[in-house]
């Protein structure tokens, strides 16, 4: 019995690959298995190879598997491009329509079955149901019941028509029978039964959007961009349920400025974008910092620079998020690592934005924002709304006629009470120009120094809660450090290496501003060697650590920037290699 299985479906974009993977993943998630599903797609709408790699496990995983057990192919290209991932004894199921053949280097190691997906689908009603036939064939190989996806088909098509559900079911069954008719048994592919669980399945973008709505967001101005658009699309569907509004703006510049306006007038508000859009927002980001408006910006990193690799994974916006905008402003940058964390990061982001009155960036990466993963149910009890320091009625009543409210009052911790247009007694001025306590432009030397300090010193060098996490040996020979979605592959590599007797620790960074200097240094002090793993070409996290003064005598960086996330085996191999080098 397998504790986990790795399955991939591939074909041309527009062929329903995504929905095939989704039906498969959702069905197994409902059965209680844990899913991690990563989509490979190109920056075009139709045509071009696409695939969906689904890992099914009895325990929670945050990474794709290193290998493949089953490959379902709707064209020869899928086999040519992906067969190398198959483990010895793996299975390829291809549509007989294109006469599938195995590449020479895999022949003998893997099994190929040609099943007439399209023909069977046509016999059952329509060619588009070939993906259902493929799911049926998969079910037979895995020893699943041919009904395994019926509940999902019911939720997908039940509202449209019962007939469509039945047709799809029939196609699944026909695929199952066709595979069965091959007269081969697959004892090695059966999964151990799942532990009963009712976890959810979602992508990081949905989790951020859901978290935002739970946190009371009401206004979302945004401009579509891959891979951030799902955040907006989710909120377009759900915000009206709470009376909120999404505006698809003319560009990202308008999006963040509108967000600032809504925040100024008292709404909880966010925008979501990816690298290029975030670049366009830099001027407004400075305005939000200068005027101390709480705004939340989701940046789903993708491959750069420029328009770069719109549909590929990278973690290269760290410098932009840390240092972006001209001049100097204080901001918070959260870097959640899992979909579950995305939800709570969104909740925290709105609270932090209002408590510290500064921009908060929730920075994810493509793998985190788009990969579907199993998530434990969220708890509304853990969602607390803290609107920060607001002017009281008593304070406002004391403001005489003609007097202006000290919106930018210089307080001990730099945070001043907020008022909103519409509140009597609260009239003041807001400007991106250096200003005094009532918001009047003031270029005086003393004023500028005091106001810079007020805005910059809100955190006083402290770390936000849960800025880092740690697992593994407390005094490791090797400490692995990562940020964002790499928590999955690093964590798995850590577990495997420890099983092999290597003393390994894994520190993960969940907030990069304020930078968690103290906790990271304490982990590093206990380790003999430190390696930072990140998905970019220049080692941004590695250099940020040095920028903030973190030191270690054996400190190195391992980078991957080919557009795909790390696999556990790559991290494992690098650590083994570096251990040898280091011990020498």
């Amino acid at each position: 019995m397998l504790q986990e299985l790795s399955w991939k479906v591939g074909g041309q974009q527009g062929e329903g690959i995504d929905s095939t993977g989704k039906t498969f993943a959702t069905s197994l998630n409902r059965m209680g298995y844990y899913i991690y599903s990563y989509r490979h797609f190109s920056s075009r709408i139709k045509g071009g190879h696409t695939n969906d790699k689904v890992r099914v496990s009895t325990t929670q995983k945050h990474s794709s598997a290193d290998y493949l057990d089953i490959l379902v192919a709707f064209d020869q290209e899928t086999i040519d491009l992906n067969a190398y991932e198959l483990r010895k004894g793996g299975v390829v199921i291809g549509d007989a329509k294109f006469n599938p053949v195995l590449p020479e280097n895999t022949a003998g190691d893997v099994l190929l079955f040609a099943i007439p997906f399209t023909k069977i689908a046509e016999q059952n009603g329509a060619a588009i149901m070939k993906n259902m036939v493929a799911l049926g064939a998969t079910a037979f190989v895995m020893g699943l019941s041919p009904d395994f996806c019926t509940p999902v088909l019911q939720s997908l098509f039940g509202r449209k028509s019962q007939k469509i559900v039945e047709q799809n079911q029939a196609a699944v069954l026909a695929g199952y029978e066709a595979m069965k008719a091959q007269n081969v048994s697959f004892p090695d592919f059966a999964l151990a039964p799942p532990t009963p669980s009712d976890h959810l399945l979602m992508i990081g973008n949905d989790a951020v959007a859901f978290g935002a709505i739970a946190a009371g967001v009401r206004v979302m101005p945004a401009y579509p961009i891959t891979p951030a658009s799902d955040v907006m699309e989710y909120l377009i569907k759900k915000l009206p349920k709470v009376g909120g509004v999404v505006v698809q703006t003319e560009d990202e510049i308008a999006a963040l400025n509108m967000t600032i306006g809504a925040s100024y007038a008292g709404a909880r508000t966010l925008t979501a974008t990816s690298g290029p859009g975030f670049s366009l927002m830099m001027e407004a980001l400075g305005l939000a910092g200068m005027t101390e408006q709480p705004v939340v910006i989701v940046d789903t990193q993708r491959g750069g620079p420029s328009t770069g690799l719109p549909t590929k994974h990278e973690q290269s916006d760290m410098y932009q998020a840390m240092f972006g905008t001209h001049g100097e402003i204080q901001k918070i940058v959260l870097t959640p690592a899992t979909a579950e964390e995305c939800f709570y990061a969104a909740v925290n982001a709105f609270n932090y934005a209002e408590i510290y009155q500064c921009p908060v960036i929730i920075m994810t990466d493509l793998a985190l924002s788009l990969a579907s993963q199993s998530v434990e149910k969220f708890s509304l009890d853990q969602v607390k709304i803290d609107r920060g320091l607001l002017a009281t009625q008593e304070q406002l009543a004391q403001i005489g006629p003609g007097q202006l409210f000290k919106r930018f009052e210089r307080t001990e911790n730099g945070v001043s009470p907020r008022v909103f247009p519409g509140q009597k007694g609260g009239i003041h001025h807001v400007t991106g120009v250096e200003h005094n306590e009532i918001g009047r432009p003031d270029e005086g030397t003393a004023n500028h120094v005091q106001m810079m300090k007020k805005r910059l010193n809100k955190f006083e060098g402290s770390e936000l809660p849960n800025s880092t996490s740690y697992e593994g040996d407390q005094h490791p020979d090797v400490l692995l450090i990562g940020v964002g979605s790499s928590i999955g592959p690093i964590s798995e590599a850590t577990v495997r290496l420890r099983k092999h007797g290597v003393r390994v620790g894994h520190a993960h960074v969940h907030v990069i501003s304020p930078f968690p200097v103290a906790s990271l240094q304490s982990y590093m002090d206990r380790a003999k060697q430190v390696i930072v793993f990140e998905s970019n070409a220049t080692g941004q996290l590695y250099h940020l650590m040095q920028f903030f003064g973190l030191k270690h005598s054996e400190f190195s960086s391992q980078l991957k920037f080919d557009g795909t996330p790390f696999l556990p085996k790559e991290i494992e191999a690098h650590v083994k290699g570096s251990m040898i080098a280091w011990q020498r």
């Binding site: 308008a254 306006g261 007038a265 001027e283």
Partner: protein, 288 residues
Amino acid sequence: MATVKEFRNNVRPNWCPGCGDFAVQASMQRALGNLNLEPENVALISGIGCSGRISGYLNVYGFHGVHGRSLPIAQGVKLANRNLTVLASGGDGDGFGIGLGHFMHAVRRNMDITYVVMDNQIYGLTKGQHSPTSAFGFKAKTTPAGNIENAVSPLQIALSAGITYLAQGFSSDVNQLTELIQGGIEHKGFSLINVFSPCVTYNKVNTYEWFKEHTVSLDQFPDYDPTNRAAAIAKVMETDGLCTGLIFKDDKKPVFEDLLQNYPQEAYLNTKLEMDQGLFDELMKEFA
């Protein structure tokens, strides 16, 4: 009930003596006073440039943003609290140069916002470069041999983009300007009041005298119908964009706010933000 006086504050504008913007400030204050609005219920969002400073010169909630972005900020303010009277303001460079895209889309979106542009056909605060509304041939610091670009016609653009209230005023006529701004605030929808507001320091061509000579008041045409968009476009073209008065008005087009599903009448500030367990569970169920 607030009067004009209550919209004044004691801040001395940093505009040059004789600047047309003083008249815009006075007209805005008079319009707000005439409408008996309370200062705390008015938000004035401005851009960058001499004109952008206006948000600090009225006793209302003022927000001085970044160059060309007053309209996106103003729309955000309106969305958060539709009960506010939201004014946006800036100059020709701010609104029709860097902000032209936002202007087109604000017109298209038709939120209930009043936009007052102080159009002096030159960049004043940066000391005398040509602006998007400078005429062809106009000589400025950046066009020493004469402007070889054609001027933007804000009126034609606004009409073509579907504006629902369009007027043009002149700083020399505070009474008319007050009326036009007042009409814009009263209008339910997006309104533009473009104001010829001469720059006495840098624009030696488009002076008060020049405008007096060249502008055409629509009051001269008793048959002019400001509800006919095609006629308005024709009149703007015929007068080379130099007509003053109410140019166009459409009271029938719904505003953005009214088309939003479940959009509350109340400001979000005063509504409950906490999510009900029922809705939370319903949303979670969709991920099962």
